[in-house]
Symmetry: C2
Subunit: 434 residues, 2 copies
């Protein structure tokens, strides 16, 4: 009668169980690194995105006027919101500020595989330190999170680059030609893998490079030899190479060096990045698009009216991450788990609810008949929710002060004295009572 | 530079920590009862609320047209969405369907204490059974959740009523006068405690009752004597009284009878309720408004084009719940917790990160210096994040292969051999190593 909106999704319990497990792993990993959860509003002033968002986002906003005439937008990304929050309390917050949050975002775009109009990301950011170990900690969090999901070095790789190497090389190669549109050239690099070579060179020449300059620039990016690049480049490049090396050394200390490769053709599309940037790719190439990315954005907080505050972050999205996990066979099983189903036969509810109550105290998932159904219907339901153990509380058994404990996996069952169950066990199974 | 929107909130980590604990308790309790998490979209078609929502909701919608010209709304409540989801998969879903979800909702209304334009609720619903034990399970879930939050019978009470008793009594008293507007009369009962008696009687007479009828009706509601009411009322009332008694008996079996009182002046405002309804109140009266409510809505799924599917649910809201918890002194402390801060002095990062890595494997929250700060600045930061233990990794100590373990509570500290730490301990403290 009513249809769900296109690009929006309903998550029924089996799928939601898997998604929740993945979100929990991302958030638990963030907690281990000392990232703290923040809660953020769904609506912000539209002007914030008009001013701050990169190319392509403004056209995709879910923007409207509220009943008070305010121009508001369903947030398309988290970074402007957390930047606003940092500026709002910059005196009170002790630095470094380390925040995590998982929430939905909205963009009105074409719906395709792994891309929806409502999509979930876990944003992890550090504010207030330019130290290379902060960049490394972001990379280490991301690598550990994927490792905790069951992915290995043969499943994924982080392609690590540096915005100042790209912009410094552009300046060196063009002899600081002021007519070069550095942002446009970097956006061209970001598109490099997705477009034809001729188009790529066209974008670079549009940005002001000569054909030869474009060729040398691309040669340097693809060699990815930091020694050579440090020799060719200006001071900006030398400093950036040193910074990138420090980040990679810290990444080694943090035990995730094996996941990180230098890849100067990685650029990230958003304009606000300033230093190290990286993207996560499927190491097998089967998932062809970037899974997620991150990087340093040292100027954004100041542009929001705050004190100069360096920042670095990463934002794994659940939809592309699920494609990678499914390809690697580590996406959690999409099915329910249930510790106990308590099956009642006849008027045995007082006893059955007493048992349910005692088992629930120990955090077990316990369902009981709440629809007055037949033995067979209850057994079918217990099976549908993957109950591990069924406790049959029948009138006849109770005449002998007994109940039946059935292991749903093996089908084995046994009777036990009703008063002794669950007894001292937190989560007694058939094996415990037989 | 950019302001947060009125009625929307930023949750910084200390407050978010407390909120997350409360949400976890609500959801863990729901899981123990076998409720399964669903994920739902933020936007739905506006028409759904125009057709289905009760008085007062339609004017408060955040409704707009998307770029494709669809009339869409930020969801103001969950019930229509889950009703749509049940109808969409009614053949595939095994019944009873037991769902839980915590998420934000939006209503453009006056901002006041405990009421915001963006607010969070945990919705818990059962579809597919009219059995009184289902109503009782909803009440038991709610009572257990509050108990798990640390609240007791002297903190809260559930005022339990029955829509069919109210409507049946109206029919009996007015001799089935077809001109009586039953819904309007029930809405009058819902407002009873919030308005003057004269206004209340005015609303009842507006609904078609004579002054004497209004008086008798109110007398019956306030006596709340089910025996007397069963005698006075028609068959609908008799059946409803029996149903209410069965629910209360099942509530006793589930161990939460002490929290439930019959209160026929409780009505719930929304039109779609059909059977048992209830509201949770602060037992001390200090929080004067209803904390949350719930009830049975057996006709809604059918009105969404589904097969007849009885339903019952409850939806605690986090904002009013926080008022009750704060009044009772059980709102979680709004501060961060940190297991370890690893303080580095000099060039000791390789060792420090090795220790951090090993401690993180055991799910400890571990922060390390990522801003190259002085000893004092690091100690101040460790204090600001409430670190329990600080591990000082200093160059001089390392010359003797030692590190220092400091208990931040007592200030006691001791040195230990660096290679022996953390050793076999999952979470070694000063007490473990001294």
């Amino acid at each position: 009668m009513y249809d769900r909106l296109k690009g929006f999704r309903d998550f029924y319990p089996p799928e939601m169980t898997a998604r929740r497990q993945v979100i929990d792993i991302l958030e638990t990993t963030a907690t281990q690194y000392g990232f703290r959860e923040v809660g953020t509003p769904t609506l912000e002033q539209t002007q914030m995105y008009v001013d701050k968002s990169g190319e392509g986002i403004e056209e995709e906003l879910y923007a409207f006027s509220d009943d008070g005439g305010r121009d508001v937008t369903l947030i398309p990304e988290l970074t402007p919101t957390v930047a606003r929050m940092v500026v709002d309390k910059q005196q009170a917050l002790s630095k470094p500020i380390k925040w995590v949050s998982t929430r939905p975002f909205w963009r009105y775009e074409q719906v395709q595989q792994g891309r929806f109009r409502e999509f979930y990301q876990t944003n992890v950011d550090i504010f207030g330190t330019a130290d290379p170990i902060a960049d490394a900690e972001i990379l280490a969090f991301a690598a550990d999170a994927l490792r905790n999901l069951g992915l290995t070095a043969s499943d994924f790789e982080f392609r690590v680059s540096h915005r100042d190497i790209l912009s410094g090389l552009l300046a060196s190669i063009t002899n600081d030609d002021a007519d070069i549109d550095t942002r446009a050239a970097i956006r061209a690099v970001d598109k490099r893998a997705k477009i034809e070579q001729a188009e790529y060179h066209g974008l670079l020449t549009d940005a002001g490079l000569s054909y030869d300059q474009a060729q040398s620039f691309d040669d340097l990016l693809t060699t990815a030899d930091l020694d050579e690049i440090a020799t060719v480049g200006n001071d900006i490049v030398t400093t950036a190479v040193q910074n990138l090396r420090s980040v990679l050394a810290a990444v080694d200390d943090l035990g995730v060096g094996e996941f990180c490769d230098i890849s100067l053709t990685t650029a990230r599309g958003l304009d606000y990045y300033t230093g190290v940037v990286f993207e996560c790719f499927d190491a097998t190439g089967e998932v062809s698009r970037s899974v997620f990315g991150g990087g340093r954005y040292d100027n954004l907080i100041e542009s929001f009216g705050g004190q100069p505050t360096p920042a670095v972050g990463v934002a794994p999205g659940l939809a592309p991450l699920s494609l990678l996990c499914q390809r690697a066979g580590v996406w959690p099983t999409e099915e329910l788990t249930t510790d106990y189903y308590i099956l009642t036969v006849g008027d045995t509810r007082s006893v059955a609810t007493r048992i349910a109550r005692e088992l629930r105290v120990n955090k077990n998932t316990v369902e009981i008949d709440i629809a007055d159904r037949s033995f067979g219907a209850q057994m079918g339901y217990a099976d549908s929710i993957n109950a591990e153990t069924v406790i049959i509380v029948g009138e006849r058994d109770l005449e002998n002060d007994e109940i039946t404990i059935k292991d749903m996996n093996s089908g084995d069952q046994t009777t036990v004295p009703v008063e002794a169950f669950p007894g001292d066990h937190d989560a007694p199974t058939y094996e415990d009572v037989v």
